[in-house]
C-alpha cells in the first residue's frame, strides 16, 4: 500500500518521526514499507484497504519504549493507533481509524507476569494471546480456566479492552480486568486501583480505585495505552456438565430467552449462554455452494430441508454448568425442568470430570481455538465477515422484536440470516454475521448498505451496537443521542484535555480530539 501521511504532516516531518521512532525500538521494529503497510491493513476490509490506511507500524518491547514513542509522537504530531496483537478480525483487524496513523503494535510485549492459582488471576502484557496464556497454564498445571472468544487468535487484554465476550462464567471479559497500567497521552504512566500505591499486593484483586475508578475508561478508548493488566480467571471446576437442546423453530428463541434469563440472573446458571442459529453449524460442514448454489438468500423451504437433512434445530442451546458434582446435578434438574415446560425432547448431556481429557474445540471450557474462522470459507474467495452487534434486554419480547427487524432488513437485501444471541445477564448480545467475498465489489457494496440500514433501523427502535467496524464507528456513536450527544461531548472534552495533540487513536469509537475534529466521518461513505 502506498504511503498515506497523517493530516498536516509533511513527508519530511514524517520521515523525521520515523527516524526518531527507530531510534527507540531499533530499525527492524519500525516498519514503513509498502509491504509493511499491507501487513497492517484490514484483512476483511469491506472495500478498499486504503480507506483505513496505516502509514507505518512501530513495535516497542517495553513500557519505557512505549512512553518514549508517545513523547516523540507528540513532538512530531504523528498519531498512534495502539493494537495488542492486531487480530480484531471483523472490526478492522490492526488498521487505524484515521488515515496515516502509525500502528503501535504491542505484540512484542508478550509476557505473562504473574499466574496466581490461589486467588485465580494473572497479570499479562498486551501481546499475550489466549493460546499463550492457555499453554502457560497447561505447562504449570495450574488449576485455572480461561474464558475465550469465538476466535481466540487474538490478545487476552485486547479482547477484554474491546469488550469481547466469551462463553463461560467469566464471559464478560472487560469485567475480568482488575488493575491496569497505562501510558497516558503525554507519556506519563498511571496504575489504577490499589496499584496507585507502589507495591500494593491487592492491585489485581480489588476492582476499584480510591476515588474515581478509571479501569474501563481505558477500554474501547483513546485515553491511554494499556501496558499491563490483571485478569481474573476461573478456578478449574471439579466437574462440568454440558446440556444440549436443539430448538426447532426460529420463533422459539422467545421462550428460550424467557426461560434461561431468570436462571442466569438468579445465579443458578453462571455461564454466558450462547445461542447460535443453524447457520453457525453449517458453515463448518462445507461451503455455501454445497447447500445452495444460487447467489440469492437461502429460502425458508431450503432452510427447513437442511435442518432435516442435518438433524439440526433452528437454534442450539449448549448450556454448561460448572462446580462440584452434587451442585451441578441439582442445578441441572432445575434447568431441565424449566426447559421441559416448552420442549419435550430430552437434551443430550455431556459430563466432564477432573482428569478427563478436554477437546480442542471446547470453547465453553475455555479452550482457545481459531476454528470458528473457518466460516471465512463459507462464501469462498477471500472470505470475510462483519458482525452487526446490538445489545437488547434479555426478554423474549425484546429479542423477538430485534430479530424480526434485523431478519426482515437482511431478507430485503437478499442476504442469508445468521444470528446468535448470548445471554450475559440482564442483557443479550445479538450478533448478525454478514459473510461476503471481498473480491466481489457488488456484494461488498450491498453489505455496506445493509450495515447502514441495520444501524439506522435498530437505533430507531432504541437499540445500539456494543462494538463495530472502523467504518461505522462514527455512525454508531451518532446513535447515542441523549441530550444532544452528551456522552460524546463529555468523551471529547476529556480526550482533548488529556491529549491536546490528538496523538492516541484519533476517532476511536467516534471520539475525536479537537486536533482532528474535522476528520469525523471522513472515512465513511454512507454505504457507497
Amino acid at each position: 500500500m502506498k504511503l498515506h501521511l497523517p493530516p498536516r504532516v509533511s513527508p519530511k516531518q514524517f520521515q523525521s518521526a520515523m527516524t526518531a521512532f527507530a531510534g527507540v525500538v531499533g530499525k527492524d521494529w519500525l516498519m514503513d514499507t509498502d509491504a509493511d503497510r499491507d501487513a497492517y491493513a484490514d484483512t476483511y476490509a469491506p472495500g478498499s484497504t486504503e480507506e483505513w490506511p496505516a502509514s507505518a507500524a512501530v513495535a516497542p518491547a517495553s513500557v519505557d519504549e512505549v512512553r518514549a514513542i508517545v513523547r516523540l509522537a507528540n513532538e512530531h504530531k504523528v498519531p498512534l493507533w495502539p493494537v495488542a496483537r492486531g487480530k480484531n478480525l471483523g472490526y478492522g483487524t490492526a488498521a487505524p481509524r484515521m488515515e496515516g496513523t502509525v500502528v503501535m503494535d504491542l505484540g512484542r510485549m508478550n509476557k505473562v507476569l504473574e499466574l496466581d492459582s490461589t486467588l485465580a488471576y494473572c497479570v499479562v502484557e498486551p501481546g499475550v494471546g489466549f493460546f499463550d496464556l492457555y499453554d502457560q497454564i497447561q505447562r504449570e498445571k495450574a488449576p485455572l480456566w480461561l474464558s475465550v472468544p469465538g476466535n481466540a487468535w487474538g490478545s487476552v487484554l485486547g479482547n477484554a479492552l474491546e469488550h469481547g465476550i466469551g462463553y463461560t462464567s467469566y464471559g464478560l471479559h472487560a469485567r475480568n480486568l482488575c488493575g491496569i497500567e497505562a501510558v497516558l497521552p503525554d507519556g506519563d504512566l498511571v496504575r489504577t486501583g490499589m496499584g496507585a500505591m507502589a507495591n500494593n499486593p491487592a492491585w489485581h484483586l480489588f476492582p476499584m480505585s480510591y476515588g474515581p475508578t478509571w479501569d474501563l475508561a481505558f477500554s474501547q478508548s483513546n485515553l491511554g495505552i494499556v501496558t499491563k493488566a490483571g485478569v481474573w480467571l476461573q478456578p478449574a471446576p471439579e466437574t462440568s456438565l454440558e446440556i444440549v437442546w436443539d430448538i426447532p423453530k426460529v420463533e422459539d428463541i422467545g421462550w428460550v430467552i424467557d426461560t434461561i434469563t431468570p436462571l442466569k440472573i438468579s445465579g443458578l446458571i453462571d455461564q454466558n449462554v450462547f445461542i447460535p442459529s443453524w447457520l453457525g453449524k453449517m458453515v463448518l460442514k462445507g461451503q455455501r455452494k454445497d447447500f445452495w448454489d444460487k447467489p440469492s438468500a437461502i429460502p425458508d423451504w431450503r432452510v427447513d430441508e437442511l435442518l432435516k437433512e442435518h438433524k439440526l434445530g433452528y437454534w442450539q442451546v449448549a448450556l454448561r454448568l460448572y462446580g462440584e458434582e452434587p451442585v451441578v446435578k441439582a442445578r441441572a434438574e432445575v434447568v431441565k425442568a424449566a426447559m421441559k415446560r416448552h420442549l419435550d425432547a430430552a437434551p443430550q448431556e455431556n459430563w466432564w470430570r477432573q482428569g478427563d481429557p478436554i477437546g480442542q474445540y471446547e470453547t465453553t471450557m475455555g479452550v482457545p481455538s481459531a476454528v470458528p474462522l473457518q466460516m471465512s470459507d463459507w462464501i469462498g474467495g477471500r472470505g470475510a465477515h462483519m458482525g452487526f452487534s446490538p445489545v437488547v434486554p434479555a426478554t423474549g419480547k425484546h429479542v423477538l422484536d430485534q430479530m424480526a427487524r434485523s431478519r426482515k432488513i437482511i431478507a430485503d437485501f437478499d442476504v442469508d440470516f445468521y444470528a446468535s444471541f448470548t445471554i450475559g445477564g440482564r442483557f443479550a448480545n445479538n450478533v448478525n454475521m454478514l459473510m461476503y467475498d471481498r473480491d466481489n465489489a457488488e456484494e461488498v457494496a450491498k453489505m455496506r448498505k445493509l450495515f447502514d440500514a441495520l444501524i439506522v433501523e435498530t437505533a430507531k427502535a432504541g437499540y445500539a451496537e456494543y462494538r463495530t467496524h472502523l467504518g461505522w464507528m462514527d455512525p454508531v456513536m451518532e446513535t447515542f443521542d441523549f441530550n444532544n450527544h452528551a456522552l460524546r461531548r463529555f468523551d471529547e472534552k476529556v480526550k482533548s484535555a488529556l491529549d491536546p495533540n490528538g496523538i492516541i487513536a484519533p476517532g476511536k469509537q467516534g471520539v475525536w480530539p479537537a486536533a482532528y475534529a474535522d476528520k469525523r466521518g471522513s472515512a465513511y461513505k454512507g454505504g457507497q
Binding site: T43, R108, D135, D290, G359, L373
Partner: protein, 133 residues
C-alpha cells in the same frame, strides 16, 4: 460420495469439529500444546524452523486447527490423502511460496506481520516447510 469420504476423513483427522454423525459427535481431537518459541534474537537467523512453525503458526496449522481443517478438505478434493492437510506433511511447497502466503495471506488466512513472524523466523519456517526446493 466423494463428499462423504471427505467428511469421514476429516473426522479421522480430528477436523470436523461439529460435523455430527448420526450416532453423535465424533470425539474431538485433544488440544495441541505448542512448544515455547526457541530462545535467541528474533532478528537473527539460525533458530529452529520446526519449533518456530509450531509455536508461531500452530494456532491454525497443527492437527485440528483452522488452517489444517480447510487444507485437508482442499487436499482431498484434489485427490490427495487427508494427512496432506498438515503443512508439515507437504512436499510440494517451495520456500518462496511459503513466504508469499505468510506475508500476503491466502483465502481464509490473514497476512502475518513481522511482529507475528520476523523475516529471519520466516526464512527458517520456509526452509522447514519448503521441501520442494
Amino acid at each position: 460420495m466423494k463428499r462423504i469420504v471427505i467428511a469421514a476423513a476429516l473426522v479421522a483427522m480430528g477436523a470436523a469439529a461439529y460435523a455430527q454423525a448420526p450416532a453423535g459427535p465424533p470425539p474431538m481431537p485433544p488440544y495441541m500444546l505448542r512448544p515455547l518459541a526457541p530462545e535467541g534474537d528474533r532478528l537473527k537467523s539460525g533458530r529452529d524452523g520446526k519449533t518456530l512453525f509450531e509455536a508461531q503458526c500452530g494456532y491454525c496449522h497443527l492437527a485440528g486447527g483452522m488452517g489444517t481443517n480447510l487444507l485437508t478438505k482442499q487436499q482431498m478434493m484434489a485427490g490427495n490423502p487427508p494427512e496432506k492437510g498438515l503443512l508439515s506433511n507437504r512436499d510440494d511447497l517451495t520456500r518462496d511460496y511459503v513466504k508469499s502466503v505468510v506475508r500476503m495471506g491466502k483465502g481464509a488466512m490473514p497476512q502475518q506481520t513481522k511482529v507475528d513472524l520476523t523475516d529471519a523466523e520466516l526464512d527458517a519456517v520456509a526452509v522447514y516447510l519448503g521441501k520442494a526446493d
